[in-house]
Symmetry: C2
Subunit: 144 residues, 2 copies
Amino acid sequence: MSAQEIKEFRELCERAGLAATHQRQVIYEILKNMHGHPSPEEVYARVKRRIPAISLATVYKNLHLFIESGVFREVSLHHGTLRVETNHKPHHHLVCTSCKTIVDIDAEDLGLATQYGKLPGGFLAQRFAVDVLGLCADCQKNSD
Amino acid sequence: MSAQEIKEFRELCERAGLAATHQRQVIYEILKNMHGHPSPEEVYARVKRRIPAISLATVYKNLHLFIESGVFREVSLHHGTLRVETNHKPHHHLVCTSCKTIVDIDAEDLGLATQYGKLPGGFLAQRFAVDVLGLCADCQKNSD
DNA sequence: TGACAAATAATAATTATTATTGTTTAATAA
DNA sequence: TTATTAAACAATAATAATTATTATTTGTCA
């Protein structure tokens, strides 16, 4: 990691009120250099190559700290347990990043571009995450 | 459940090649009458009131069967394990409902309405799930 | 440098989910 | 109907993901 990047990391820790430990720095650096959507185990495996004595719990703790302080995001805000949709009408979700509550919003009520910031129940929209669900090229082939 | 609904349930089982068992019917009926985004445990608790001897594994099995056969959906296609975003550019996700692979798509490449069906890598879009991330009214208050 | 709070490693515990196995039940055909 | 058979079930063991605990170590700041 360059001197510049180390400075960046230290500032980031200061802003978040976190100690700039060696483990934390290595996890940060490795995340920066990974791409895709790594799981805690995958991060752990990479960090272990540099710090063999690292604990998986430390990786988890730091991932959560990075996510809480906004340094990294998590892919899905509502992972963790299977949830069944009971609403059969076309709809999307209002997901509170703080308390994780999910509330439905009818598709027609969501005027994506226009209604930014004016959503039901006083919900304050901060960003949109669009999941396009469908079949990748491979799975299209295999379903023939 | 009305005679009409029972007929509906039996047809649905036939289409999916499933036996129309009592447990399955009760789980189906209860799901129909729940709202929100129930977890397997929540469904189990409700079913247990009608069939005290039901097993949690049976509830899991049937939820998966219902989801596979398209009778119900799951809220998030990529639950199960924490995933960290390493892509800091504004982007959305192409999620394959078959193999569960998640591929990023730049926000500017996703012309929501227009590009339907014409997505990178031959991805066949079937539906859009929009998560609006932000703060609910309560959490806005609490953050003052 | 030394004190103290924060972070860490090791590991136990918990939670969510899946697999296994012996028993029961629904679907189908005689 | 009743016998047959594959599917479904209950009970429970097993696994995977995550979190909590605790004793030890390390940064931070006086």
